[in-house]
């Protein structure tokens, strides 16, 4: 039950894009049509579901102050938390590489349609952001961390697919010239974010 409420919260209330602005770069670049947006959204969700729990385990059994206690008493005072950033990013980069190889092997068509966006997931702020928020929030177990990763991924997916759908329609409207493309996208995102703010304060 707790996990379900966490998922719903991280999809609507703590939405990665509308509340924290994470993963904006690829969000702005890839939201031109719904199909690629959906593909990227799914890839981001998969990477989040895999990396957040893994980083959670690393954080709790290796990096936290005193986390190395299971190795013996001599390790009780070790504090490796300085290295968390480097370790997290290394885990994320290697998972992206792995996912790229798996997709290339089993589904060449999806691989071709995603193209350069796959390696770019490694530098998607939403992924590293989720791991850093996980560290800050101190979840109680791996299940909660997985639920958080899943919820954030779905939230990101919803946002990018919604934006892509709006931009497809926007092509037929008469936008002032200097505002076309990037400018109007920013303003649309702001309006969507105001909409999503109405979810805040919901407790489930």
């Amino acid at each position: 039950m707790e996990a379900i409420s966490l998922i719903v919260r991280s999809i609507f209330v703590d939405n990665m894009i509308f509340a924290y602005f994470l993963g904006m770069c690829s969000y702005l670049a890839v939201s031109k049509n719904v199909k690629t947006a959906l593909g990227l959204g799914i890839a981001v969700t998969v990477v989040l579901v895999l990396t957040v729990p893994l980083n959670f385990l690393l954080e709790n059994y290796i990096l936290k102050p005193g986390a190395l206690g299971w190795l013996g008493d001599g390790f009780k005072d070790m504090d490796l938390s300085v290295f968390s950033l480097i370790i997290f990013i290394a885990v994320i980069a290697s998972f992206t590489q792995l996912l790229e190889m798996v997709i290339e092997r089993f589904s060449p068509s999806l691989y071709n349609s995603l193209g350069i966006f796959l390696p770019l997931i490694a530098v998607n702020c939403a992924i590293l952001g989720a791991s850093l928020f996980m560290q800050q929030r101190d979840f109680s177990n791996v299940g909660m961390a997985t639920a958080y990763g899943f919820g954030s991924g779905i939230g990101w997916l919803l946002a990018i697919v919604g934006m892509a759908a709006i931009r497809e329609k926007l092509e037929y409207s008469n936008v002032p010239k200097p505002l076309r493309g990037l400018g109007i996208t920013f303003i649309m995102t702001a309006l969507m974010a105001i909409g999503f703010m109405s979810f805040s304060g919901i407790s489930i």
Partner: protein
């Protein structure tokens, strides 16, 4: 200074701005701008990290194997960011609390990776250093502008000092609480892009 170096330093301030034109590094630009102080600190941290990592990667560029270059770049960037975040924690603890995870997120700031990939891998250390400073400044001035507007109208202060006189409030002026909310940063950047593009028609997009 030769024209090439000058372009590397000054181009990103206007015609080639990382936020307005190349659309890089948006994430952190928006989240930290509720106060002028945190925007300033963030801008300075990014300038330092981009310039130094540009120099390091440009020194290493001939010995990095092509296949693993992304990981090498990320590790160099992560090491520098860890350094900056530890220094912030030691000397400016309040600000580092305000910036929370966004200091760590400089690692995945696309400006950083974009410059390392596009410039430092193919240019010498001095040119890369200037390019890093230029891009950091181009990012910084947007951040500071947005932070200035949001703090001034959102809470009536600048760097924590009251600048809107009490008589205004007595006459019925109210702080615009909307400025402190997340979507306002997006709207402001949208408007800056609008102004910038109407001044530079060659940047306008055909839809």
């Amino acid at each position: 200074m030769s024209p090439n170096l000058k372009a590397a330093l000054l181009g990103p301030l206007n015609k080639n701005n990382p936020i307005l034109v190349q659309v890089l590094g948006i994430c952190s630009a928006l989240a930290v701008t509720t106060k002028l102080e945190s925007s300033l600190v963030m801008a300075i941290s990014v300038i330092i990290v981009v310039a130094l990592s540009n120099v390091i990667i440009s020194l290493l560029r001939k010995s990095i194997p092509n296949r693993i270059r992304i990981i090498v770049q990320l590790v160099v960037a992560a090491a520098l960011v860890t350094l900056v975040s530890e220094i912030l924690k030691a000397y400016a603890y309040d600000v580092s609390k305000q910036l929370s995870v966004y200091v760590g997120l400089i690692v995945t700031n696309c400006i950083l990776m974009g410059r390392l990939e596009a410039f430092a891998m193919g240019n010498g250390p001095w040119a890369s250093f200037l390019d890093g400073i230029g891009n950091g400044l181009g990012y910084g001035w947007i951040l500071v502008t947005v932070g200035f507007i949001r703090e001034l109208f959102g809470s009536g202060t600048l760097l924590g000092y009251k600048v809107i006189p009490q008589s205004f409030y007595d006459a019925g002026y109210m702080d615009n609480g909307f400025m402190m909310l997340a979507p306002m940063a997006l709207l402001l950047v949208g408007c800056i892009i609008w102004i910038h593009r109407s001044k530079n028609p060659e940047l306008q997009e055909e839809q």
